[in-house]
Symmetry: C2
Subunit: 420 residues, 2 copies
């Protein structure tokens, strides 16, 4: 009986993944544009298959799809399980979609004993990816009345229409969004749960099929730090008279890299990245001491205080290097994204469920942002389950095994069914 | 009497500098193109003023101007004092020209007692700057039959004609150059002396009006070192799974910077520069771990063994970082320029002359290349005197005081007059 169910689940999952991939294929990979055709087609397919499986579907005022058991007429705030249906251009099929499919399957799976569990809803959100309009979590922010009105004026990555125009085109009331009208108040739902593929390599490296997410890292960014030194003849200026911007940046990054290593050993959660780094292309030369360099800085942590302390350390090291090397560091506007805390009650429930199912369950921070962070920061108890995935996300080479995915579905079904 | 002579010398020097500057003005600065109009005009002005002052002028087969005292009929190999007349585009007036004016003035100054000194020639070379055809020391290399034949096929920086065409246009026999015919064999001259402005900031910083050059630094270059790591999500990949190319480069440069500092303390002559440094502009992003970076590397020293040892150290550190960080460093073709040793006999003569004149004379390496390196590497005893100059060279802001320049002329005249 268990064997038959597993086969059926795998077949259903495969069928949905294949149908949505086929409908949004854009070689290489898939393209499901936020509030665009591919996302809309994915919503339609999900709704069709949900209906075939006896679920009731409803689209809210902002275009998101809600699914429920028609026989469950309870009015208390439900547990919402969901994720998003959009993808980046030429992205992978599982980022977002896996969480929506999992939500449907938990509803179907728990149907026979639904009234032992809290009321459940499956939610397919639109507009999570920032790749199309430069803004992430559009769907969940609008849902909670928290989308900044000027986001509607953001232009499509191709420079064509705006987000607001794309929304209006599919019948969404953008005046309501602009006015901050919420579809959902935080008190209307009791929890938000999301399954997602891991976007990093840890679970493959550690051989962990599923994990529970401890928190979603926030970040502090400077798109451009400008280190200004002094250009000079590479042969004729001795070390003591140089103001070499590249060596100053190298010293800063090396010092911070070492501090980072030590802080990790102390048990802190932290990552640091300088992804962009360029000397001045109109004047740099092999035989000229670099007079300036521009580089980006990003730090992420689950803990706001850790980020703040590490950020202060960066600024202190800059001042020390300014003094020792005669350079200056000019920082552009600091951009902050707050970390999100996952609900300890739901983490405990997921761990207890894993124990009952004899599934090993390690925990891991989420380095990438998710709609779950929006719900958590609105005060809604939120939790996430990650599924092992090779090759990262946002590319056509995402590799999630269906067997791992079904372990995630098993875990969510068990956790919502038997309260912790 | 001394006072009158000094005034006269200053007036003559000012007159020549002004006449050549006016004739090659190209705001901002001056342009005296190698084998082009500005350089030719400068040669004509120098020849006119030399003739007015009783010197005999002769142009050799490759367009360089030679000046001598008509009464000096001695046939033994002369001491040649010279420099070049070309400039970079929109360059300064003193780089090169100062050495030619000094050579003329030494001839004029020593005239009353010329037969107490060795035979002397003043030489105004063409084609020293690489800015026009991408090749430096054209004039001195051709003179010694050492210009690589394919240099004649190099295109002008504007992409128009070739070096060979420019030479032919002013009557130079390029077939002879291509065949490696020397105007001058090393045995034909007994020494080559050159006065030049300092192109670095050391003499201004140290308050040294003139210095004797200990040697001319050679260099080892890689135009591009490609550090290859692995791109990844800046939030989702922990430190232990990263292959961050920027942090790997930062560690390499920081390690080498520290080794450099220590080697200087040990008394070695060395400079190191990474003037170009860029992540991949088509794929880098603030939130992507940099998967690669390209950077240039240049080391210079008066001592070939020091360069070789430091170069080996770079390659060793790369291997260590490859192992510890999972990146790889790919080096493009290594480009070598040999250092040149200045003649200890002539350095001693210059030091003795300075002592007799009560001029303080510190010594300094030349970080930039000079025609003197070509003569020295052909086996001709060579020496250089640097004159204090602010703001570096190759720009309109060169700032040499005539008083400092005349100290250099005094020193050369004393050194050639009274043998060491």
């Amino acid at each position: 009986m268990t064997m038959v169910k597993a086969l059926t689940d795998a077949a259903l999952a495969e069928r949905i993944f294949t149908a949505v991939a086929d409908a949004s294929s854009d070689a290489p990979g898939v393209s499901r544009e936020s509030y665009g055709a591919g996302e809309t087609r994915a919503l339609e397919i999900i709704a069709e298959i949900a209906a075939e499986n006896g679920l009731t579907c409803e689209t809210d005022a902002y275009g998101n799809l809600w699914m429920r058991l028609p026989e469950d007429s309870r009015r208390e705030p439900p547990v919402v399980i969901g994720s998003h249906l959009d993808s980046v251009p030429h992205g992978g099929n599982f980022d977002g979609l896996a969480g929506v499919v999992a939500a449907m399957m938990v509803l179907i799976r728990t149907r026979p004993y639904y009234d032992d569990a809290p009321p459940l809803r499956a939610l397919a959100l639109r507009g999570e990816e920032s790749a199309w309009y430069g803004k992430a979590y559009i769907g969940s922010l609008a849902l909670l009345g928290k989308l900044p009105p000027n986001a509607l004026d953001l232009h499509h990555r191709n420079g064509t229409g705006t987000l607001g125009e794309a929304m209006s085109h599919i019948g969404i009331d953008t005046h309501a969004i602009r006015a901050g009208h919420a579809v959902l108040e935080p008190k209307d739902i009791s929890a938000y749960l999301e399954l997602h593929i891991e976007q990093g390599p840890v679970m493959v490296a550690r051989n962990w099929p599923i994990t529970v997410v401890t928190g979603i890292r926030g970040n502090v960014r400077h798109n451009t730090v400008h280190c200004i030194g002094e250009a000079g003849h590479s042969g004729a200026v001795p070390r003591w008279l140089r103001k070499d911007a590249v060596l100053a940046m190298a010293e800063l990054l090396s010092r911070m890299d070492e501090h980072w290593r030590v802080l990790l050993q102390m048990g802190m959660d932290l990552v640091m990245t300088s992804g962009i780094c360029t000397t001045a292309t109109d004047s740099h030369a092999v035989s000229v001491i670099p007079g300036d360099i521009r580089f980006s800085l990003e730090i992420r942590s689950q803990d706001a205080a850790t980020m703040e302390r590490f950020y202060d350390l960066i600024r202190q090291e800059c001042r020390a290097i300014e003094t020792s090397r005669g350079v200056s560091f000019a920082f552009d506007q600091r951009i902050d994204t707050a970390p999100a805390t996952m609900d300890t009650g739901w983490i405990t429930r997921l761990e207890a469920a894993a124990h009952r199912l004899s599934l090993p369950l390690e925990s891991i921070p989420s380095g990438a942002g998710h709609d779950a962070a929006v719900f958590a920061n609105a005060g809604i108890p939120s939790a996430m389950v990650f599924v092992r995935n090779d090759h990262g996300s946002h590319n056509p080479f995402e590799a999630m095994e269906i067997a791992d995915f079904l372990k995630g579905v098993d875990l969510l079904a068990e956790a919502v069914h038997v309260p912790g």
